[in-house]
């Protein structure tokens, strides 16, 4: 409107009311923010903030799950590692006994029989170790549903599956050990070799040299398996640490997007309240004056 426009009393009242309403609206918004502690309470408060917050939330949940999977994987690998360490020490003992039995000059038949018995005992221990379980599942049996990986006679009753755990986005790590790969197959299998050693110790000591060579090869294999499991254990541990760290970062990011700065919001609230008081005061002063006050 150009020029001098007419202002009526009614208008003054309406425009004061509008101003006061606007103030109250802003105060109400700030109060909501302060009481929920969040600056984004509805999607329309900040479309980009909402999108980012949803994304962060789902990432946080995913990383929590990765950490859980990693914990499970670490337990599997830990068990496998321990089992392999004991297998190694038992196999070393078998080797010592075999060397003892091979020196035919110093051992009589009874001594060698005793050695054979001990080796047989050690073989049973080896098979027991190879049947280590974690929560009822054999760690060297692949994905079998049975309770054992190896029968008493050394035959493998597990299967060829792999136990995988997802420990990061798109990253799956195998957390079991393959029995046939670690303990060998057929004639090269550790238990067969140990059985042969027991037989040859009491029956045919000359064949023990050959057995020792085979045993050394099996030992190398065993050590390789242990190293592999150890490496995977380290990898899963570091990935778990990564997942935990990522969760921290994401939580921090989520806070930055969603949370309201309490100090700033409180100051704003104070300012709005002062403005509200000013609006009310002005309205009351202006609306009181009228020509009728001055006419006699």
């Amino acid at each position: 409107m150009t020029g001098i426009s007419r202002v009526t009393y009614h208008q003054l009242g309406i425009s004061s009311l509008r101003g006061v309403q606007g103030n109250l609206d802003r105060i109400s918004n700030l109060q909501t923010q302060l009481s929920t502690g969040r600056s984004v309470n509805r999607p329309s408060d900040s479309p980009s903030g909402t999108s980012a917050a949803m994304s962060f939330r789902s990432d946080i949940k995913a990383n929590t799950q990765y950490a859980r999977n990693a914990n499970d994987g670490i337990a599997w690998l830990g068990n496998a590692d321990q089992a392999l360490q004991s297998s190694l020490s038992i196999t070393n003992r078998v080797r010592d006994l075999a060397v003892q039995a091979a020196s035919t000059g110093s051992q009589g038949q009874t001594a060698r029989d005793a050695i054979a018995t001990e080796v047989r005992q050690l073989r049973e221990s080896l098979i027991e170790t190879a049947n280590t379980t974690y929560i009822g599942r054999p760690v060297f049996g692949g994905t079998t549903a049975g309770a054992k990986a190896y029968e008493k006679n050394g035959s493998y009753v597990g299967d060829t599956g792999q136990v995988l755990r997802t420990v990061a986005n798109g990253v799956q790590v195998r957390v079991d050990g393959s029995g046939p790969e670690i303990f060998g197959t057929g004639d090269e299998q550790l238990f067969t070799i140990v059985n042969d050693i027991a037989d040859h110790a009491s029956g045919d000591p000359a064949a023990l040299q050959d057995d020792l060579t085979r045993l050394d090869k099996a030992l190398t294999n065993l050590r390789k398996g242990a190293a592999d499991i150890g490496a995977r254990y380290n990898r899963v541990e570091s990935l778990k640490q990564g997942a935990d760290d990522r969760k921290l970062t994401l939580n921090k990011g989520l806070n930055e997007i969603e949370s309201v700065d309490i100090a700033e919001a409180t100051v704003q609230l104070q300012l709005q309240q002062v403005a509200y008081q000013a609006a009310l005061g002005t309205a009351s002063k202006v609306l009181q004056l009228s020509l009728t006050d001055f006419l006699r």
Binding site: H10, T64, Q65, T143, Q172
Partner: protein, 466 residues
């Protein structure tokens, strides 16, 4: 030469006129707070000689006083039309913003309990099954979690559909209101025409009629056009709903359920007699029509797409799996509860036996968790269900925020337009007080004149002669 007593007549006409003008001021002051009241002003005209002088009918008097020739309504039809226009747009914007806000309540993101969270928890439940494929406990937990997810999707879908029905009901009531208002305008038009033809001022009737036209404008965006004899015709788009004292009724036509709305089957406001469609482009009804025909169906369809995408992507991986007993996966994991294609309202979990959850990828290696791992890996995929849901919420957020911004702007524009109109037609008590003084003094002065003439005549009649 004018008559001896013509002076008294002049003074008398002044008294009458000032009194009439005072009464008009009184009427204005009485209605200072009446909404929609237009201030009135008495039109005073000096009475003098005839307009056409003639040889033997000359006038040589001093004048015949003053007459109130009419009471004017001080308004501006242009400003009035503009205010109606802006109010109509404001009503439409309000309706749209409110509906979007209600839809936002169905998807209360960001939060730890809404659909986004449910989806993430379901993927994690699959990952837990992958961690212990031989146990039945994580499988039961998975089935529970999946039920929670589908239950929430069903609830959201139902919520949208309920909102649609409620909005349709409101629109139907709005159309009834329009019909009542149109009839009222027609009746008032008739009364105004009669009064105008009889020469009687009909200002209060015009105020009431204009208030009804304002109401029609804000309900359906109708516009008023001045006719003859003070009548206002009301047009909706190009068709007239009020012509003089005749009013046409309108009704609502179209689908009765959210599911029946398609591009070719939409809600419309039509003439009740012959179904001729009216073009409602502004006003509360326009906002409601937009919500009913495009906004709500749009989001409902997005939700349906999310549900069917979820079902198909999980089922595709599921069907390659084997369950705890080594049997191939039977049927689907997600399906519909009523045999129709999977939608938001009917998605459900078809598996009830934990042993039948197909987590394994190979029947020979039963505790291999390949399928469970693959399904869990759907989490957070931009082109998977999580991405679709995020798109839905992002779209909604932007649309709602835009509507609110537009509402704020339009409120300000409509307020300014209404203020301009008020500035012309509103009653200012200070002005009326001043006029009151003027008319009061005028009345006193006229009485004084009469008194003077009276005492002059008294001198003449009683003093001269004996």
């Amino acid at each position: 030469m004018s008559s001896t007593f013509s002076g008294i007549n002049t003074a008398y006409s002044a008294l009458v006129a000032q009194r009439r003008a005072l009464e008009t001021t009184g009427q204005n002051v009485a209605n200072v707070n009446t909404p929609g009241y237009t201030r009135q002003r008495a039109n005073l005209e000096a009475q003098g000689g005839p307009a056409v002088p003639a040889m033997y009918s000359k006038y040589d008097g001093a004048g015949d006083g003053v007459k109130v020739v009419g009471v004017d309504r001080i308004t501006d039809t242009f400003l009035q039309a503009r205010a109606q226009n802006e109010a109509a747009k404001l009503a439409a914007q309000q309706s749209v913003a409110t509906s979007l806000s209600r839809i936002e309540d169905v998807f209360p993101e960001p939060s730890d309990t809404a659909l986004g969270s449910n989806l993430a928890d379901t993927w994690n439940a699959w990952a837990d099954v992958a961690n212990s494929p031989g146990d039945e406990a994580p499988r039961s937990a998975l089935l529970q979690q999946a039920h929670t997810l589908t239950g929430n999707i069903n609830a959201a879908s139902k919520n949208l559909s309920d909102q649609w029905e409620q909005q349709r009901q409101e629109l139907s009531v709005t159309v009834d209101e329009v019909n009542v208002a149109a009839k009222g305008i027609a009746e008032l038009n008739l009364a105004i025409r009669r009064d105008t033809q009889a020469g009687v001022p009909a200002n209060e009737l015009k105020d009431r009629r204009d208030a009804l036209v304002d109401k029609l404008a804000s309900l359906v965006g109708a516009t008023g056009r001045q006719g003859e004899d003070g009548v206002v015709d009301v047009y909706l788009g190009g068709t007239a709903i009020v012509r003089g004292s005749d009013a046409d009724a309108l009704r609502l036509d179209g689908p009765a359920k959210l599911g029946d709305v398609t591009a070719s089957s939409q809600l419309r406001i039509v003439r009740a007699t012959d179904g001729y469609p009216s073009s409602v482009s502004s006003g509360k009804a326009a906002g409601a029509l937009e919500t009913l025909n495009s906004t709500l169906p749009g989001y409902s369809q997005k939700l349906d797409a999310l549900a069917s995408g979820l079902a198909s992507s999980v089922n595709a991986i599921w069907s390659t799996g084997y369950d705890l007993d080594g049997n191939p996966a039977a049927g689907n994991f997600f399906g519909s509860s009523d045999g129709n294609p999977v939608k938001g309202s009917n998605i459900t979990v078809l598996v009830t036996d934990p042993r039948k959850v197909a987590a394994s990828g190979d029947s020979a290696t039963r505790l291999d968790n390949a399928v469970a791992n693959s399904i869990a890996a759907l989490a957070g995929k931009v082109d998977g269900p999580d991405g679709a849901y995020r798109d839905l919420v992002a779209n909604l957020a932007v649309e709602s925020q835009t509507a609110q911004t537009r509402l704020t702007t339009q409120t300000s524009v409509a307020n300014k337009a209404a203020d301009s109109l008020e500035a012309v037609r509103g009653v200012d008590t200070d002005e009326e007080m001043t006029n009151l003084l003027a008319y009061q003094r005028g009345y006193e002065a006229a009485a004084r004149v009469m008194n003077s003439i009276n005492s002059m005549l008294d001198t003449l009649i009683n003093m001269v002669g004996r």
